[in-house]
Subunit: 449 residues, 2 copies
């Protein structure tokens, strides 16, 4: 369960493979274009920060089926009557398509494609599940992190939530996405190693409890980490422990509050530390924090320097799922490229391969987005989707993770305040081009059902 | 990212390893006992279904640090001053402890340990993160699945949510846990292969859209899967498509509704199918379903045979995190075993290694639970925690997944209705033994801080 492990070819939903078999038996494998986008944002989210492209492209470039995986499929009752040729096809299948995508860290609004896949129909279809899982999740967490980082107004945020994540694999990617969204680092050591993210840690209540006296515990830890000790001071009595902490003087890196009235306690503890000449010793807070609680603490003048955020960030608890979808936009049928759209209630889509153009004001702040047909040229703004994979191979090299973090930060600085308020944010203007609207209406008239 | 891959020794929070280094440098590695339990259940949950023990034990039995992982740690600034002996210790570290646990599929109430680890302090501490991640998540999903299955009153539930899961690793374990909670199967092929879970699939809107006419798509699919076709009929117009589906006659396995008014549509579609002599053709419903919507549909007499449930189940969207904790209960200090407890506001714990006794009525229905000190013998009920690992080795073999599913089903059938209502469920009675309460009060008097 590390980045190195090859993802199984079976990392998909069964219907992707039954559809593949049906396409194959019907001689259908023409180029098709699918787009991944989020129609409706979760409550409270006015923008998203794109995440997960790196893992999505790694998956595409390594896609294959092992003999064991194919044997498993052949043994399933549903595939009993499927001809051997399909399994022969799977045996040598590689992803050969083209991918256009938003750079990771880009700000995204409803309906804007984060990714567009153009590939032979069977390939383009079967990768849907993994692409959605990967991009939905990292985008969800990068966005939540950005909200929390914005709320902290410059104080540092550390991702702490591995224990509440949806498996340790989820924890690894939560840490990565949280870093994109602006966190200083993570408590997750494996994520630190895999993605070169700074790792942070303090100590736990159990450490204090493993000694007869709280001060014994503090001394035992400090002796080993004189340069980097953050003492957890709420195991028994926070103020009492803060007084014990003064023994270590100004070299003590920090103290951590994990329960109780954080605003009052942080002020009292700050006073105790300052009194002892420990102005440089930082106060960290943790314990079910989210962007709203952090904003409130900062507003109340709580002298907290760092926040450790777990559950709320790493599971995006208030909005734990992103409803990203992957929809057919164009397909070649009998040599002719045809635009496609879905009409289901509340789930209708726009046809054609698309491009997103972002217009900025003269001061660089974002002004309006325009969604056009891919080959339209907008007079205003810059195109956000760029080619990242061709012939199944990643084009060039992707940005380093810290460059992606810096890019997301820059993006957020260009988004005017009304569009990123924590509550009641304004809707950022996104339009479909006149040409796209016109052609969609034309197509609507011809739809058969 | 499959079951086969070894989990990194770094799959933990940094503070577990800094505490390990501090314990090591201070010559502290006495046996300690930690218990994993859920103090406070998420809103709406009156019971939990224990899940994840298999993966937790696999992790413990394989725990180790590779040379590369140790090199990474040694390169971290925080470990710069830590002596080489600690890294030598990690190089040969294996988990050597004892584990007692509730069987997977057991019903759990607040405060009841799901797992107890007794091991040398450093080992017992550093496994905390992975154990919590694994057990929190699978318990969360098994519980959500049980609620949905209960709501469906005998109609089948299929887990469909991979695309909204928190990484594909999460999707695999969500499918496993959902099966424990009573689902018939999953759409996730890799989970099907790894855990021998039945896999299910229909087809997608894109399949219909890939043909010029809806009926062409239906025929193309049916021709390849004459025994197992479930047609998705809401791409353009549900009733129109239901009429098209009658072409296939009674051999058609099913049709799927994915949008619109499910109650009304299912009745209309049932009538169309019945009229065509297709009484055996099943109706499946999907599309943002949860236990409440399913209960409502069944109450309204919707003739739906199967439900595909995704996001709400696979992310437990209404309660996406379980606040399981792992707390020190006893530790040997200078040759003497000492009970331990935490006093932080709202986070206080009970000391001592514990056992849970479940008393049943003469008809087998659950009556009351008693939490005692581990070596107390209760006069009533049966003990739920049993030894599952000794000396770091799994004892015997764990039940097969379908046995676990059957066990969970039997457990739920013994839980009286008031305790498992979807809303406003009654609190199941759980008491701490008089002896445990007495000794806790005694200990409170002596706590130092």
């Amino acid at each position: 369960m590390t980045e190195q492990a090859r993802m199984s070819g079976l990392a998909t939903d069964l219907y992707q493979l039954t559809m593949g078999a049906a396409y194959h038996a019907n001689g259908r494998n023409e180029p098709a274009s699918f787009e991944l986008f989020v129609r409706k944002f979760p409550a409270g989210r006015s923008y998203l920060i794109a995440g997960g492209l790196k893992q999505a492209l790694d998956y595409l470039s390594e896609l294959s089926f092992s003999g064991e995986e194919i044997d498993y499929l052949r043994g399933l009752p549903v595939f009993e009557q499927v001809q051997a040729e399909f399994f022969e096809y799977l045996r040598t299948l590689r992803f050969t398509g083209e991918v256009w995508a938003l750079r990771e860290g880009t700000i995204v609004f409803p309906g804007e494609p984060l990714l567009r896949v153009t590939a032979p129909l069977i390939e383009a279809q079967m990768v849907e599940t993994f692409l959605l899982t990967t991009i939905n999740f990292q985008t969800l967490i990068a966005t939540k992190a950005a909200r929390i980082v914005e709320a902290a107004r410059g104080r540092g945020i550390i991702e702490f939530g591995a224990r509440r994540c949806h498996s340790f694999g989820a924890a690894i990617y939560a840490a990565r996405a949280a870093f994109i969204g602006g966190c200083l680092g993570t408590s997750n050591v494996e994520a630190g190693r895999l993605f070169e993210i700074p790792v942070y840690g303090t100590s736990a209540h159990s450490f204090t409890m493993a000694f007869d006296h709280e001060l014994d515990a503090f001394r035992a830890y400090y002796r080993v980490f004189p340069e980097s000790t953050t003492l957890l001071i709420d195991t028994y009595d926070t103020i009492g422990a803060a007084n014990l902490a003064t023994e270590f003087g100004p070299r003590l890196r920090g103290v951590r509050l994990d329960s109780g009235d954080m605003i009052g306690l942080s002020k009292e503890v700050r006073a105790i530390l300052d009194e002892a000449g420990m102005q440089a010793t930082k106060i960290m807070a943790s314990g079910d924090l989210d962007e709203y609680k952090i904003a409130k603490m900062i507003e109340a003048g709580a002298p907290i320097d760092l926040f450790g955020v777990g559950t709320e960030l790493s599971t995006s608890r208030d909005a734990p799922a992103l409803a990203g979808v992957y929809k057919l936009a164009e397909i070649e049928i009998s040599g002719e490229v045809k635009p496609k759209m879905k009409l289901s209630p509340d789930k209708a889509t726009y046809p054609y391969r698309k491009q997103v153009w972002r217009e900025s004001d003269h001061d660089g702040s974002f002004k309006e987005d325009l969604i056009t047909i891919a080959d339209e040229v907008s007079q205003k703004g810059e195109p956000l989707l760029t080619p990242v994979m061709r012939g199944g191979e990643i084009i060039g090299s992707l940005p380093r993770l810290e460059e992606t973090q810096a890019y997301a930060k820059e993006q957020l600085s260009r988004l005017p305040l009304p569009f990123k308020r924590l509550t009641d944010a304004a809707h950022y203007p996104v339009r479909y081009s006149d040409e796209l609207e016109r052609r969609r209406l034309e197509l609507l008239k011809t739809v058969d059902s």
